[in-house]
Symmetry: C2
Subunit: 109 residues, 2 copies
DNA sequence: TCCTTGTTTAAGTCTTAGCTAATATTAGCA
DNA sequence: TGCTAATATTAGCTAAGACTTAAACAAGGA
């Protein structure tokens, strides 16, 4: 499974958002995400496993709890791929912005 | 299908790389990608459809050919999500870089 | 040691993405 | 109009991923 696939799942993206702000115990993530998406504790745990397995998160055992922490290492791969193309599409994006601005001006007239 | 899912497929990423450099007819993309991945014209065409449907590419009809061109619009969504988290993981990435540098220095000693 | 809480793992089901093969569509040309 | 080349679309198959339920595991307290 490629890093992009890991980010492809909305539940996993949400978990990363949560972990980006602060480290959390599995149970806390389950409480938030499980409620938001209406899925079981087990399902969330499986998503956490995917994040672990692909290096997006690390775990620290604290008694019976597992504290999850974001690990940005795999983002390097993502960023690298995007950066490669960015040089090509950035000019086009600027052209797009110009078009939008032109449209706005036109609408004002 | 989310934009991240679109980028999740290696064939589609390859097609975007090709289109980033220049516009190409469907057949040219089929020739390159089909050979590299060992898949049929139909399969490539279906990937092109996904890219079209999600706004990653636009088509121009030129006689019997369809000329594909990259459209960076959906990248805005991707970039926005990544940017939201970047503020959080960037410091951690720097910490990671420091760790690596420290490791290198240590190995030199 | 047994129980309880927090969590992961295993097994099985369902859905969907990606593929092939076959067919349809589109446009130009004889 | 019929033929050919370029491409898209459809149907059907298969594999993988996301889910639920049930079972296993880990750690601390009675």
């Amino acid at each position: 499974m490629h890093a992009f696939d890991v980010l492809g799942d909305p539940v996993r993206r949400r978990i990363l958002e949560i972990l980006a702000e602060d480290r959390h115990a599995s149970g806390e993530i389950v409480a938030i995400v499980g409620e938001e998406f209406g899925i079981t504790q087990s399902a969330v745990s499986q998503h956490l496993k995917v994040l672990r397995d692909h290096g997006f998160a690390t775990v620290e055992v604290a008694g019976p709890r597992r504290i999850y922490q974001i690990d940005p290492a795999p983002m390097v791969e993502i960023d690298r791929w995007l950066a490669r193309l960015r040089g090509f599409w950035e000019p086009k994006l600027e052209a797009l912005a110009v078009e939008v601005a032109r449209g706005k001006r036109k609408r004002r007239e």
